[in-house]
Symmetry: D3
């Protein structure tokens, strides 16, 4: 039995509220247990230098935590210059994962920036940012079509993510903060609606893990991600 | 008739939802028209250097806007070092205003930091931060009493704020963004439940104003602030 | 009786020495009691992005203090990145105030930057920067005319500023540093030669103030500003 | 056949020259094909705040590239503030990987900093930094023993790393720069002398991958890492 | 004949006005032709880390230019982080030169910071900063004696500096800005009242120079420095 | 007798290995005693703003130290923003010195950047950077000729540098770190193959020096530089 009463293979309750911001082209509030994140997608008509003139688009992400999203206040990054290593690592992961959902040719020379801002954090913020960010991204892209900014939708698949870990020797799905802080292996998995992987990151601290343990974790992750994609499907239908 | 159908002396509908964050000692979501701000109060056992050993406490504030709180995305301040001049000016105003609500002796040597993060912006974010920030602050201070961290509450009065302005020659209360961007005079007023002023800032750009116009604006502000304090009273009773 | 023997409604002796720098298009040394500030105006042929192609000009200001302008040495801001909140707030105030003196259409697409550098500080540096900065600005604009860079002068009025405050319950004009550091209410007023306001900022710290006290302070400020404008008139005649 | 004539399962020639710097407690020059990295280990008697008083030590890493380690000159990070996201991500990976090699209790309250500076880069710099960094780290720790700074060696296992990838649909071991820049899946694997994993990072860009492809890559990585550990064994014997 | 009518071996008129700032422990305004610099000395009771507990003091300097000290406005360094290379080089030179004037043992564990702020620049600002900075420094040290903060004065000699250069093949003393910008060799010499050198810096750009040219320049510099020390002697007598 | 057994007028053994990096247009590893520096020259087709359109080129330098190039680890400058004052001073010196070796007209509108990165430091790193940097620069320029990027070589002379100093009252050539840290006068001399000076910097700390001592040092420097230029001549023949 886990700290919050869940089974080892049970993910937390996830709710996604699309269109939470009147100001953004696409947005969603994702709540996964006590983790709450606002995702907002912006369509920008510029692309990074290496794509100029290629006709191809780009998807990128930014990630932030409100100072009191955590039990102990964290200083605002704004007061310390460049994003920290952790923030930068998360931003790059979210961006890469969401690009896997999009046909960048069909998107045309525009960039979609997905901002993921954590209102309340209880573990799994990077994976929830991917799952919720996909919804904001998809809404922003869908709304480009009717206005004929793009001919057909540039979305090509669903992408969602979840964490798995080994805590005190036991493999479990979707760690909350307290589990995560005691985990010896922490794994983030990003998958598509076709059942393929976009990213696998399995990090040990204070222990190591075998191939068997890696496989067991991947299997748990896959079942969790299937549920999340089912939830996305109810909100956005792009076929 | 105003752009959103209000009378000249009519403030926007304001809702304050206390305790919005499970992670903070005090918190509130304030919505004033389309402006939405999360206020979170943190109790810190340290004080700034000039207060060490005096037995007195301090109240300070930080202010931020989510990148997509506005119709056009704003770059995260985190990527550009120190807070901008505008942010810094707003933070100092909120901090000063909230200090007027507190008996710093009675608070004891601790600092309360009030974070005001704008989820959606439609004018009046600095004044709504003061009004909502007061609620987060008051909750955080109230909860110090039962645990005997302080003997009696250190709150001594309600403090709220509202904007007034002259738009196309007409004086009006509680400007929304579109009115604010066309205003020739922009005024922020902070008052207490005793009907006294904490701060008056009346700024002209592109015109100037007479003493009569100043007085008319102050009168509108006073009536608006009285309603806001009535709302605060329903949420927090510290007598 | 005040600390330096002045009456409550008496401003400090102010001397303005125009043309103090051979290197700048316009300049002035303003001395107000022991406060000494060099103001220098630069004519720049560029305008900020939002004005490009509009035919309109801009006036902006920068403010700095020499490290030993104060009794205790202050670290050079240059060593700590962006200007501090206080500096930034003052710069914005000076810029707004001086823009009220100028017909930006007539100025044409050029920016005038007014640098105010405090050699010695004894209170009232932001208001003296406005009063002295106006002289530097006006000289720089006047010298544009004969060379036909602009057809007629773009100056449309005199603008000056002074501080007022409540110290130990007493309202007084033009606070020196020692009075300012004990003031419960600190007010800066910027007015034009037509007797209208450009800016009123009345800030309480450790007390609050009534409408009657606000009015009394404004009246003192007005008489002080009239004298300062009389001094400006002797130095620059633009009619 | 690969661009440099290697078989798909063939790693590049790796040479490790221990003790390359007279100035550092431990050091090594690792050359893997045309990739050349100087690794230097520093023993510092301080530990990060969260370890103070626990009796436990820490291992951390920094990573840099000389401006002309690449065919096109890269600006020195020193001129742009904080390390970039990529640098920070690599530093964290090297640090985590090397900590898995050390018994932090036995190390005692000291930090070992491993600097990895790339003289010449041709792909695989992060994995070579781990493999070479292990040698510098082990030498620095071994030399603590005779002087009785620690009772017995704090090294508990060998740790090495290698990259694998899918290039144009083909899985191959130890990518050089040209292969890496065309890879659709890029994977870094860190393993111990006991055949367990410390870190698996498999990143897709522009494609996705199946479980079967993941497994094939892991198998290639394992054989490559075994050879690298054999090389480390010849240089440092800690049993 | 030179651009401003001087002979080749003729320095510019130099005036030093001691005690220019009421706020600083020692100060002077030095004017050398059109170059005008405020020098202010601060006595600080702390010393840099490497001197703590040694009983020895330190002298350091900072250097700045007002934005309109030059004919073309220079951006404030404050807006761009760390001091520039040029500023830093000048600060180190002034600091080293002034330390040669002081018996650091006798000064005791205190630091004297000499701020040199250029109001108007016309060449030779670093050498004038040394000559004027010496006066500010000496006044600050002299005033420590009567209050018995130190037993006898810690000043042990006069130190002054001047520039020399080769302009269009001709060697000349004390270059003004226009000469300096055309100089092929630019030399700064710092000497003591005993006729010895503290610093010689002779820099060629676009040409080189012979030993004979070096000697000729040093001789000119020596005669110029003797006059400056004579001026210092009239202002401060420390014997 | 000196600490490492050398005569007072004896320079350390210097070896220069050209072409050390496969990635750079020109490169060299210079070893002078225990000082080891990698110099790499980059040909860039841009020039600084003040040279655009003039047809003239530029040579500039950057200098860095690996964290463990010294016996005590130095923090990476990359983590602290702009280069330090010392680094910036050295970079400017190397750049100026190398420009004296080149005909900038003949070079055409391109910049050569010479990166000098210290692998191991034992005194004299700035002078060794000049001597070794010249080799990297010359190789990069020579290779421009055959490809007809420039018609004839733009190199016009050899340039090398060495340090001299007064240690405990004794003048000696080419100080190692331990001598340098005890030196009362520290001098860096840069000369050409024609026996003329590019730069002389003689700095006293804790003592002063006479004209006679200056001359003695210059003579030692000249003999040391002649040997270094003889070594350069063997590696690069540009006549």
């Amino acid at each position: 039995m886990r700290i919050d009463g869940r089974r080892l293979d049970q993910a937390r309750q996830t709710r996604i509220q699309p269109g939470i911001l009147a100001t953004a082209e696409g947005s969603a509030l994702i709540e996964s247990g006590n983790t709450k994140i606002i995702c907002a997608a912006t369509v920008d008509d510029k692309v990074p230098g290496f794509l100029r003139g290629t006709g191809r688009g780009w998807v990128t992400a930014e990630y932030g935590m409100l100072p009191r999203s955590t039990n102990t206040r964290k200083a605002r990054e704004g007061l310390r210059g460049r994003p920290s290593g952790r923030t930068s690592e998360i931003q790059r992961l979210i961006g890469r994962s969401l690009r896997a959902a999009v046909d960048l040719e069909r998107l045309g020379e525009r960039t979609i920036i997905v901002d993921c801002d954590v209102l309340q954090a209880d573990g799994g913020t990077r994976t929830a940012s991917i799952t919720g960010g996909w919804v904001a991204l998809a809404i922003a892209i869908q709304q480009l079509v009717p206005y004929e900014a793009i001919r057909t939708t540039a979305i090509r698949r669903y992408v969602a993510a979840i964490s798995v870990g080994i805590v005190d020797g036991t493999t479990m799905l979707d760690l909350c903060y307290e589990e995560d802080s005691r985990a010896g292996v922490d794994m983030n998995v990003v998958m598509t609606s076709e059942g393929e992987f976009v990213e696998v990151q399995a990090t040990a601290e204070g222990q190591t893990y075998t191939k068997g343990q890696l496989d067991a974790q991947l299997q748990l992750a896959q079942s969790g991600i299937e549920s999340l994609i089912a939830a996305q499907r109810k909100l956005v239908d792009f076929s």
